[in-house]
Symmetry: C2
Subunit: 231 residues, 2 copies
DNA sequence: TCAGATCTTTGCATTGTCGCAAACTGGAGA
DNA sequence: TCTCCAGTTTGCGACAATGCAAAGATCTGA
């Protein structure tokens, strides 16, 4: 593991408002790891030995159903926390975390949670706010799944991904990590076939450009219209 | 508002592990209110002036979509907290809370949140654990909506309601508050017609007994089989 | 006790989405 | 450069669930 500088953390939301000495202290307790694309950072029901900060890359949080289907619960982007089971009173992780691209994470032992929270109340507040945001966001997803049709959900998923992880290119906004039709179907509760049909038709219309594990949003407003269509 | 005794709180999960003096202190800061069935306890986007403990009754937490559809996010049972926006760093409530039966609530001003949390760390921990449980539960609902068919979701909803709020009767387990076909459709993302068809058929088979706004679970294991059917 | 409102049931036509199958494509590794 | 394989596309038939419509049941308040 390499030496890391406190300035790395200073601009990230979980650490906003923390003093330089707090940042140094937290950094001193952390260890960094590399996780190549496709590898697990942690697994569901596994003892929650650590919590993590994603320094670089993207992580998929995935749940498995008893009959082997996968559902993507959320994507974690660079600078976000993950695996903070201790913060919500759990001894095990509630889902799997898989690197969606090559990742670098900072890991703290869960046993240090109480000490860290006590020493850096601002970090605790930031964390609880984030948990709350995730709760509200997940509730919004329930509403979406309960009321919107597949076409709208897929449109919404793509617009959201582009907004959260997009990188500007000459064609439009490119989703910054490899993502398959299957992945999108697992985010939106449909099949890869239906996603493929939708993306093809949007591609034909020129609203997106899509290739193998690659989606570029060309005319975002068209998809946003679809996503929020009254009917 | 009437005098309340600390023993009222002692057995409730949010206050477990708190000392008698802590309970007295918290009770002293609270005010109690009655909310007749159908009235709002708070509304979405409203300034989160208070947080609440449900002392008696049942509360529906509801979100509205832009085109006027309703989704029931969760039911709150007696003894649970609600409206704890401050705990998750929010200034407004993220949903509506409506009394599903006549209710009695205890209310604390949100401005007292920081003081209370600082004075009673056990209460804070319990609250964050509860937020975590709700997050995980909501995620499970996303998985359910994304992978299961309507019949399974409705079966699951009824079994869950019976488990969480059920009262034993001679026929079986009665869901303890008035609940319509429409309500169940808003919990499971379907239509009242489909729910009605399903309940009718289960009634015919003798698995449930159902009347106007009333459902009794007679053969719970049959519904549980349905809910977890591999196919 | 009656009238009106609310909730529930049920038949029928329609359709959005799936499941299956087969062909196609682009990239990685030998 | 060739081969293989994971990922993608597309046609077609099937069906779960919806939408619409109308009638029936149950409760409430005058």
């Amino acid at each position: 593991m390499s030496r890391l500088d406190a300035s790395l953390l200073a601009d990230l939301p979980p650490f906003s408002g923390l003093s330089k000495s707090s940042l140094d202290d937290m950094l001193a307790r952390a260890v960094s790891f590399r996780h190549p694309k496709g590898t697990h950072i942690f697994r569901e029901d596994e003892d929650a030995h650590s919590f993590f900060l994603l320094l670089d890359g993207y992580v998929r949080v995935v749940k498995l159903t008893p009959d082997g289907e996968q559902v993507i619960v959320r994507y974690i982007a660079t600078g976000e926390l993950l695996g903070i089971a201790k913060a919500i009173g759990r001894e095990t992780y509630p889902a799997n975390a898989v690197a969606a691209a090559d990742c670098v994470v900072l890991a703290w032992p869960s046993s240090a949670w109480e000490t860290i929270v006590a020493a850096h109340p601002g970090f605790a507040t930031n964390t609880y706010t984030m948990v709350g945001n995730r709760l509200v966001g997940t509730q919004d997803r329930v509403v979406e799944l309960a009321t919107e049709r597949v076409e709208q959900r897929v449109a919404n998923a793509i617009v959201s991904l582009a907004r959260e992880t997009g990188r500007k290119t000459e064609d439009g906004i490119l989703i910054d990590f490899p993502i398959s039709r299957q992945d999108i179907s697992e985010m939106t509760g449909t099949t890869l076939h239906t996603v493929s049909r939708l993306l093809s038709s949007w591609d034909t219309k020129g609203w997106i450009k899509s290739g193998r594990q690659k989606i570029t949003l060309v005319e975002g407003h068209k998809l946003m219209m679809l996503a929020s269509a009254r009917d």
